[in-house]
């Protein structure tokens, strides 16, 4: 709460000079504004400031500019004239002293305040804690430095242009300020509230002399300031001091009632607005024009009601912007779409009961009802207690249904018979209304409505019992514990604490009509309050009286599960009948004892209904519904309940607020109001917040030393925190986010109505996803698209390759020429032909099994010729598989009879004597080079053969004396190149046996490194024809010669491939041309 000591001095009336102003120019702020346009802005003060001249469009404040200000006339008390009474507020008498008794309200308040029906607030100003300087605007709190606070911009004016306003004349022109009304309170809606906050120092004459202030420059103005010229200036002062940007203020939560600024509508100077602001302003004006009536109705609705009541569609539209739009802060508020509203607490089944047939209702409902019309459930008459026999006080004039505000009607919840509550402590927080004079609910013809918030489970309404003994006065519906003293509670309606002070004019008329007389309070009424002496019902009692425990705070959401304590002597049906609200109906169905709820004995609301009400309530109820209720009513019997069923706490605190509120006392200051909240433990956090807190908890030091990873063994490192966010999960199937309490209620309703709910409608969608993820989704293998063209090509090639082996008719072409070879091929034949007996030939088998099909034949042909010449082949390889292949090949040759016959041997060739197969040589090109440079390596290589046996090859480094020729058999270009580059021995010729694929690349080394080469099957066939005719394979039967057949097979295959490639190229070319044309 604000400290009235912090009020500006000018509000205290320290000015010595009487204000003077021109009556025609000043707005009569002391009189109630006749229209919104007449309500001055900025307290009618800022517009009078010199620097505000010429800014506003208001003719009253229109001036050409600051330069045109007749500063000489400013503060001219002689010329200035006006109704001094209009500025009585400036007089000291208008304001009580700071030390004055704050409990005694001032009576010098404008009449229009009284006419509006507002009572003076019963504020104990002395108890109000001082508002800190930070929470108040500087110009109100008397900040020395003007415009230095955060969020405050310096006025957009040039101090040099302020003219000759001096300290003496300041009071004059300020005293002539117009438009300032007591209603333009910054802090409280109650204009009767007095303030002791001193005026800012810069307005104080003494302060001007002592401390520099921007307004000191006014001394530079010559002459006096004409108060007439300051008309309206002060009204705009606020524009100077604020602010293109909003000052940093603590915005109250949406559940908290916002402070309502009464009346003062600032006349915004559109020239100063930005485009967006102007646009918003235009929209707001348009909205106000279109919804003028609605806004007027909305003005009557208290903020607390709006924030906590779930209304139907009709009321929702009206209350969508129940807050009086703050033109300065927010853009025009458009009616909130229905989808954004919270769940409607009135289920459809309840709303449509009147359409149901009693025949279909459960039996127990039928027994309880006598009326076949289910619509009587919604008949408010069922909730109305019987009229007292002799009302001691004249019945208040019942408000016609039309007199009830629409927003109240549109709630759609029928109120039970409500008695007038006790006088609520007017110091309830958040300006919760001290609703006195509630409507008289004793008349059955009257529609008595219960605000939806009362039935709301989230609000933690207390369990309504039918026991008279347990009936206690209702506290505030939104009680907060540890809220502070009563004095801190704010009664924004200014209803006051004292009953006597409650006047009919303080309560809205529509509400007043519903207020029964004091003596009409009976136990039969719907609500009984603790303080029966209170003439009026107060839903919103003193919050501080509520015992707000942790458990109760945590379990507010479980209100629906509270077990309504049945009346000792009443059957369950009576209890159900006694409940006039949906809450009780569901509570009766659920019948689960609350856990941990600690009642506050002093704050319980007792619902006392008569059986007749129950009968009327369930007239026409569906049989099934009644049966469900009846069956549900049996649940409490089965559930164990303690003997001393705990009294349920009056859970006035909304669930959301309860969860977010800290347990320890925390002060919240907003707009000059200071509130205290009690802190909560972690358990009171929402589930999501609690889980987040756990996940992000910093690990201990021992945990921060990982044992693996890049930071293993590093002490003091930051712990690895898991992901605090999880992958987004899809929204629930129903598209609604409901609290557990709401889910429970929905389940109960579904059980009653026998509606099949999705099994997992409430479950976390993540669970369903987890299940899906747990099951390894079997990946469906996609069938490869069949390609018929591939099959055709394969078949053709097979036919071309296999056919020549089977028949001579497919021997297409001519056999290779054997009479004349190429120069390079002839060189190989010549070199082998010159070999003599026991001369060693170094042969390198540098190919693997992939090229064995082509090179084995060529290698065999050359080896056969070399052996037939009597030379000794020495085989080595830098390829391990090549060495193995070479060993197998030579072993076969060693047993070949044709070869043995050609060399006239009877026994096979012996390894290590007739031929040598050395071990695999590792190192690649380096090892090849080492053969000519490294004796150690050469010795190591040639000393042991592939069998591991010692050889008699005494070779240090390879030279021309050790070997007659070197034959390289390779399948890749690298094989040929390595030997050509690394093995360079003068006088030692090299020859290459290669595949057809690398023949072109081998030709490049012919002449430089190699003396000749043989390539592919072509040279194999020709070499055999020329050098080994006796070794040719001979077949029996009608099959063609395999060797020749192989040649023709290869030839036909090449032709077939060429045809297929050509044909495919032509087809693709045509298709490409067709696409281009298309």
């Amino acid at each position: 709460m604000s400290n009235f000591d912090d009020l500006p001095d000018w509000l205290k009336g320290d000015m010595d000079d009487e204000p003077s102003s021109t009556p025609d120019d000043q707005a009569n702020w002391t009189q109630p504004p006749s229209s919104a346009d007449d309500v001055p802005e900025h307290f009618g003060v800022t517009s009078a400031l010199p620097w505000r001249q010429g800014i506003s469009d208001d003719p009253k404040r229109q001036t050409a500019g600051l330069g045109d200000v007749d500063w000489e006339s400013l503060g001219n008390t002689e010329e200035a004239s006006g109704d001094a009474d209009d500025l009585a507020w400036l007089n000291e008498s208008a304001f009580p002293d700071a030390d004055a008794d704050q409990d005694q309200p001032t009576t010098d308040h404008p009449q229009w305040i009284d006419d509006a029906g507002f009572e003076e607030p019963d504020l104990d100003l002395a108890d109000l804690e001082a508002v800190s300087a930070e929470s108040m605007p500087d110009w109100l709190s008397g900040a020395e430095s003007f415009g230095d606070e955060a969020g405050f911009e310096e006025p957009d004016f040039d101090m040099d242009d302020l003219g000759a306003v001096n300290a003496e004349s300041m009071s004059d022109w300020f005293g002539d300020a117009e438009g300032f009304g007591e209603s333009d309170s910054l802090f409280f809606e109650d204009s009767d509230t007095t303030y002791d906050t001193p005026a800012p120092n810069w307005l104080d004459e003494d302060a001007l002399e002592e401390e520099p202030s921007p307004l000191r420059s006014l001394d530079e103005f010559e002459g006096e300031i004409d108060p007439e010229d300051l008309d309206g200036l002060l009204l705009d002062i606020e524009d100077d001091f604020a602010f293109d940007e909003e000052p940093e203020t603590i915005e109250p939560q949406s559940q908290e009632p916002k402070i309502r600024r009464l009346g003062a509508k600032k006349d915004v100077d559109e020239d100063e607005l930005t485009f967006e602001a102007w646009e918003r302003l235009q929209e707001q004006k348009e909205y106000e024009t279109d919804h003028a009536e609605e806004l007027a109705i909305q003005a009557e609705v208290p903020d607390w009601f709006r924030d906590n009541v779930e209304l139907g569609d009709a009321a929702g539209d009206e209350l969508a912007s129940i807050l009086i739009p703050d033109l300065e802060d927010a853009p025009p508020q458009t009616p909130a779409p229905q989808a954004e509203m919270k769940a409607d607490y009135v289920p459809e089944w309840f709303m449509g009961l009147e359409e149901q047939n009693l025949e279909d209702a459960p039996d127990w409902i039928k027994e309880a009802t006598t009326n076949t019309d289910l619509g009587s459930l919604t008949d408010i008459s069922a909730f109305v207690p019987p009229e007292p026999e002799q009302p001691s006080t004249p019945e208040p004039e019942l408000a016609e249904p039309d007199d009830v505000p629409d927003w109240f009607k549109g709630i759609g919840v029928d109120l039970p018979d409500m008695t007038t509550p006790t006088a609520v402590d007017s110091t309830a927080d958040f300006g919760l209304p001290n609703l006195t004079g509630l409507p008289d609910l004793t008349t059955s013809d009257q529609d008595v409505l219960v605000p939806d918030f009362m039935a709301s489970d989230d609000l933690g309404l207390p369990d309504l019992t039918a026991s008279e003994e347990e009936a206690e006065a209702v506290g505030d519906a939104f009680a907060f514990s540890d809220i502070g003293t009563e004095e801190q509670a704010f009664d924004f309606l200014g209803l006051g604490e004292d009953e006597d002070e409650l006047a009919t004019g303080d309560v809205p008329e529509w509400l007043r009509d519903y207020a029964p007389a004091q003596d009409q309070l009976t136990q039969d009424t719907a609500f009984q309050f603790e303080d029966e002496s209170a003439p009026e019902m107060d839903w919103l009692g003193d919050l501080s009286e509520v015992e707000f425990t942790d458990e109760s705070a945590a379990d507010f959401s479980d209100f629906a599960s509270e077990v309504p304590k049945p009346a000792a002597k009443q059957p369950d049906r009576d209890i159900l009948a006694g409940s006039g609200t949906l809450d009780e109906l569901l509570d009766f169905v659920e019948h689960t004892a609350p856990s941990g709820l600690v009642p506050a004995p002093s704050d319980r609301r007792v619902l006392a209904q008569q059986s007749q009400q129950l009968t009327d309530l369930f007239d026409g109820v569906d049989d099934d519904l009644l049966q469900a209720l009846e069956s549900a009513s049996e649940k409490p019997a089965s559930q164990p309940t303690s003997e001393a069923q705990p009294d349920l706490v009056l859970a006035e605190v909304p669930d959301l607020i309860a969860e977010l509120r800290p347990e320890e006392s925390v002060r919240l200051r907003a707009g000059g109001i200071e509130l205290e909240f009690a802190e909560q433990s972690e358990t009171h956090l929402a589930t999501e917040l609690r889980n987040l807190h756990k996940r992000t908890s910093v690990p201990s030091a021992s945990e921060s030393m990982p044992t693996s990873g890049p930071l293993s063994g590093v002490m003091g490192g930051l712990g690895i925190v898991g992901l605090t966010t999880t992958a987004g999960t899809p929204a629930s199937r129903t598209g609604l986010e409901v609290t557990p309490t709401q889910a429970t209620r929905i389940d109960a309703l579904a059980a009653i109505l026998e509606i099949d709910q999705p099994d997992d409608w409430q479950e976390d969608e993540g669970e369903a996803l987890a299940e899906v993820e747990a099951k390894p989704r079997r990946r469906r293998r996609q069938r490869a698209k069949r390609k018929p063209d591939r099959y055709v090509i394969v078949l053709l090639l097979l036919a071309a390759l296999i056919g020549p082996f089977l028949t001579d008719s497919l021997h297409v072409g001519e056999a290779p020429e054997t009479q004349e070879l190429g120069v390079d091929q002839q060189a190989v034949l010549t070199a082998v032909d010159t070999l003599e007996n026991q001369e060693r030939v170094l042969i390198a088998f540098e190919y693997g099994p992939t090229a064995a099909g082509e090179l084995n034949g060529l290698a065999e042909a050359v080896l056969r010729d070399v052996i037939r010449q009597g030379a000794v082949p020495v085989v080595l390889s830098t390829n391990p598989l090549g060495a193995l292949n070479a060993q197998n090949l030579i072993q076969e040759l060693a047993r070949d009879t044709a070869l043995l016959d050609s060399i006239e041997r009877d026994t096979p060739l012996e390894a290590g004597q007739d031929y040598y197969v050395l071990r695999y040589i590792s190192g690649g090109a380096a090892s090849i080079r080492g053969l000519t440079t490294s004796e150690i390596l050469t010795t190591l290589i040639f000393s042991t053969d592939s069998r591991g046996e010692k050889t008699d090859l005494d070779i240090g480094t390879v030279d021309a004396d050790d070997f007659e020729m070197v034959i390289i058999i390779g399948e890749t270009t690298e094989d040929v190149r390595n030997w050509a580059e690394q093995f360079d021995v003068v006088g030692l010729p090299m020859y290459a046996l290669v595949t057809a694929a690398i023949e072109p690349l081998t030709q490049a080394y012919v002449g430089a490194a190699y003396r000749g080469y043989l390539a592919g099957y072509r040279d194999t066939y020709r070499y055999n024809q020329l050098r080994n005719p006796k070794s040719a394979n001979e077949t029996d039967g009608d099959l063609p010669d395999p060797t020749l057949s192989q040649w023709y097979s290869m030839t036909l295959g090449v032709v077939m491939v060429a045809v297929i490639i050509t044909l495919g190229t032509l087809i693709n070319l045509l298709r490409g041309l067709r696409r281009r044309r298309a």
Partner: protein, 222 residues
């Protein structure tokens, strides 16, 4: 088991594996994968055995295990062991930097050998051959060889020039022409190589077919 029996078994195994590989014509299947895995596994296994038996063990026998060998020789036998251990340390992130020394030796020696061989064994001889061909009757071949070599090398270069009034640089005209010629040489070369590869493949295939048919004929026809 006699060698003849082994030959028969190996023949049938070869036939089956051949058919399994040929099944790839239809589509990729597990039979083909089995055959490929058998090839790779057998080759890798034999290669490991060959390296141990043909390289490592004989090295130790000659150096470290040779009592008759001199001290330096025996000490030199430890170098491969040490370098091998360094390379093994590359698996440990903490000591991976130690294995860089062994990698340095391997890369350095290999690079040196390859570089020297490329210059001495390829570039110089080829240039010499090309020059000699200019003075002989094969001058046409020589010129063709020179033009093809130069144009091919220019094709892989990007020499451009940006004029004042142009948005992006454009290659010089001469460069564009030579690049186009080089591209032609490259196309012809790749075509010739592809043709040779086809011939090689067909040769291998028909050799295989011939062996398999012969095997079948021997088994079936006796």
């Amino acid at each position: 088991m006699t060698p003849e029996q082994l030959d028969v078994i190996m023949g049938w195994a070869g036939l089956v594996l051949t058919l399994m590989v040929f099944s790839y014509v239809i589509r990729d299947n597990f039979l083909y994968r089995i055959a490929v895995h058998v090839l790779i596994g057998a080759a890798a296994g034999y290669g490991a055995i060959a390296a141990i038996t043909n390289v490592i063990l004989p090295w130790f026998d000659v150096t470290i295990g040779n009592s008759d060998a001199a001290g330096p020789v025996r000490a030199m036998g430890l170098f491969p062991v040490i370098f091998g251990l360094f390379l093994v340390l590359k698996l440990l992130p903490r000591y991976a930097h130690i294995g860089n020394f062994a990698v340095l030796i391997l890369v350095g020696i290999g690079t040196g050998v390859a570089l020297v061989g490329a210059v001495i064994g390829t570039i110089i001889p080829l240039v010499g051959e090309t020059g000699r061909s200019m003075g002989s009757e094969e001058v046409g071949n020589g010129l063709l060889m020179v033009a093809g070599t130069i144009s091919t090398l220019i094709y892989f270069q990007y020499i451009s020039r940006q004029r004042f009034n142009e948005d992006s640089p454009r290659p010089v005209l001469v460069i564009r022409v030579l690049s186009t010629i080089g591209q032609g040489f490259i196309i012809v070369t790749l075509g010739a190589l592809y043709a040779g590869a086809i011939v090689t493949s067909l040769t291998i295939f028909n050799q295989l077919i011939a062996d398999q048919i012969q095997f079948l004929l021997e088994r079936i026809g006796g």
